[in-house]
């Protein structure tokens, strides 16, 4: 069998196992947290009777094991359940987990996509340029800027951007609250600041990996050979070094893309962007287990798929792995 196909199948099988384990861990973790949905929602105004009524309606009065298997059964049929928050609603007002996650996941993917579309080419370009002109002013400058941006916490970068680009110079808006009625251009305008923040945060990592991988290769004998035969530096990097550097670059890109999907809750909060991170945080603080499970599965699946893609790139870019003896 083709090693690429075999890897994909193997990894997908393992991925499903991972998702299963993740769902069990999440269930256990939420069970172990103090309080439950009823108490978290009612807060200070909880009384024993109202808590009991809540638990009956949501089904929290049954054992966690029974609830887990019911949920699991639903998932196997493609039904991710219903948020506890809609308990007692009529059929038309049920809040299905899938409906809650869907639009927010799209929002998150939109922001992540825009940030990645800017960040990845930019990081590759800067990395290659830095490697090409190693130890030049350009290299040092790019390094300093990107290290500063990666070393500052993202909320700090976000506040600085808001201060200069939204308050002092009102070019962009500080609230990235997008709504379905907006056109694509409006959306792009509104999410400019969070996207810039994310680009600043992830570019450094990818750019430095690109630079390091290429510089590493530049010391190899075959590059020396290329130089001796008179190839130009740009040609050496693009034709000879880069194809061999894809594996580490792809891995670090995958890692950063996964971060863009699952790890940007702080940026979402600062810009009040309705992404999936905020949904998960709300759901955890209210112990809304079905929603937490849904988000966790999305996050885990994101990691699994992106790592899978990175591995495929690694295999495809390396003839030794592509044609094993």
């Amino acid at each position: 069998m083709n090693p690429v196909v075999r890897t994909i199948l193997q990894r997908l099988g393992l991925g499903i196992g991972t998702l299963l384990v993740v769902s069990i861990i999440i269930s256990l973790a939420i069970e172990m947290l103090p309080g439950d949905f009823a108490r978290a929602v009612l807060g200070q105004s909880a009384t024993p009777e109202t808590v009991a009524a809540f638990q009956r309606e949501v089904g929290l009065d049954r054992s966690p094991v029974v609830r887990y298997f019911e949920w699991m059964g639903g998932v196997l049929r493609g039904d991710f359940g219903e948020s506890y928050a809609s308990a007692g609603s009529l059929a038309g007002h049920r809040r299905l987990v899938a409906d809650m996650i869907g639009p927010r996941l799209l929002n998150t993917l939109f922001l992540a996509g825009v940030a990645a579309l800017v960040a990845v080419p930019l990081a590759l370009f800067l990395g290659i340029m830095a490697a090409l002109h190693r130890n030049s002013i350009l290299d040092r400058g790019v390094n300093v800027v990107s290290l500063v941006s990666i070393s500052s916490p993202e909320f700090f970068l976000a506040y600085i951007l808001i201060m200069f680009l939204a308050v002092k110079l009102p070019i962009f808006v500080s609230l990235a609250s997008i709504s379905p009625s907006m056109s694509v251009l409006e959306r792009l305008y509104v999410i400019a600041l969070p996207a810039i923040t994310l680009v600043l945060v992830i570019v450094a990592h990818m750019m430095r990996m690109t630079r390091a991988a290429i510089i590493n290769l530049l010391a190899s004998p075959y590059i020396e050979m290329g130089r001796l035969k008179g190839a130009r530096p740009m040609q050496i990097i693009l034709r000879h070094a880069l194809p061999n550097a894809w594996a580490p670059i792809a891995n670090v890109v995958a890692l950063n893309l996964a971060y863009l999907v699952v790890g940007v809750v702080v940026v979402e909060v600062v810009f009040t962007y309705p992404g999936i991170g905020q949904l998960m945080v709300d759901a955890v603080s209210k112990r809304d287990l079905p929603v937490v499970q849904g988000c966790a599965l999305v996050f885990a699946a994101t990691y699994i798929l992106l790592n899978l893609i990175a591995d495929i790139v690694t295999i495809a870019s390396n003839p030794r792995l592509l044609h094993p003896r």
Binding site: L33, P34, G35, A38, R39, A40, V41, L42, G43, Q44, S45, A46, T47, P48, E49, T50, V51, A53, F54, R56, E57, S83, Y84, A85, S86, G88, S89, L90, G92, H93, R95, M100, Y159, I162, M163, A166, V167, P170, V173, S174, L175, S177, S179, V269, V270, F271, T272, P274, Q278, L279, D282, A283, S285, K286, D288, V291
Partner: protein, 533 residues
Amino acid sequence: MSESMEKLRLAEKLVGRGKVSRRQFVQLALAAGLTASAGEVMFVKAARAEPKRGGFAKFGLAHGATTDSLDPAGYPDTGTQFPFSGAMSNMLTEVDVDGNIQPDVAESFEFGKDAGTWIFKIRKGITFHDGKSVTAEDVIASYQHHMGPDSKSAAKSLLTDIVEIKADGPDTVVFTLKSPNADFPYVASDYHIPIMPLKDGKADWESGVRTGAFVFGDYEPGVRVHLKRNPNYHKEGKPYFDEVEFLTIADVTARSAALTAGTVHWISRADLKTLNLLKRDPNVNIEEVTGLGHYTLPMHVNVAPFDNVDVRTALKYAINRQDIVDKVFLGHATTGNDNPIAPVVKFAIDPEPKHSYDPEKAKFHLKKAGMENLKVDLSVADAAFNGAVDAAVLYQQHAKAAGIDINVIREPNDGYWDNVWLKKSWCASYWSGRPTADWMFTTTYSKGAAWNETNWSHPRFEELLVQGRAETDEKKRAAIYAEMQQLQHDDGGAIVLVFNNYVDAASKKLAHGKVAGNWEGDGLRIAERWWFA
């Protein structure tokens, strides 16, 4: 008064209604002997004072979660209270800006033979957003939504005293109570009890069809609520805005930035630490109101050493509240005097002797309790109120002078109300306050109350509580509530630390009348009461 001055006065009134132009007004002012610039200032002031129709107002709220819903059984915080209760709905009654009770959905209310029966007449011609008239059945269903064994409503305990609600004709509702309660009309103003239409035998909360100033529009839980003006609103001329939007901006820095950048016109809970920076913005007004909300440190009076009244008094004298107001709340609070009834509430008194910082008196009471030193645990978390941990640490330092060693235990924020409050014998707590003395005492300090956070029970207090509810003579009630507050002050287990101020910030584009202090944001009704200048 000269004739031209009189003309000017008249013109001032007309300006607000848009009937006199700026040029005409300034000419009149010049004729009356004022300078042109003084006339200009007067014009702007007059134009602001009279409410104007129009505009799309946006409000930035500190709360809101994806688990929120339209169901009034919930409404856990301002993220739902502002849009769904304050802007979209009306209760039977309403607390006005001066703290008095006024009819709202009800046209009038009166008690029957005594305060144990209350008769509410529904306002003539009042309709829901869909055009249907409000009837007695709708009111009954709206109340029953919170009652009964299956209720999961936060207002359930509020309504346990209702024995029966019945209709007397299509526009009269009669409430029969377990025992007389002269303050029942105040209970009917609670933001959890909006009047909703009856549908299939139940109150229909899901459609968002209510009676309020604004009609339900788009809703993304935890993100935004967008509402449109109700043209048939029963309050003359109101509301003034054409559209309003409530945005959840949980992060306080983001909220301030949204206001200064002009994305929103008003934000709740401005950041006290950076308030002076915000004040410097020429387009921003800071709105500060002392409300009913207060922070307490409740002790369980049935647990040693708090079972000794002298220990409690010693602890009350060992805290420097002014220091805490200055350092923790940066001056945006009023010191408490171990009386949970806010000064603006009817019948409130300031009990004597005032509990201010006095280590000698604390030592004296400690000695009276037969102790030289005292070591106690105080469990706090910022979930109780912002600054609870800092306040406790300051208290620890104050109490040292009186020979009291307070061991401050920092509890996790998560699950604080489940695991610490009502469970630990001394902790920190928050009350948003209630508009009447009876209501506050009944929820928190009466024997058997679900939220009696001090486990305090005092026979005389209980006796007075029942008497006060049944009494309809204002003078006698005042005496009863004064004695109860004194008892609470002298013997109760709660250290009432401070009454917190609501500190909001608004764009100068907005104008308003007197601001109510019964809840945040002009009694939650900012959308209905404010306008664009």
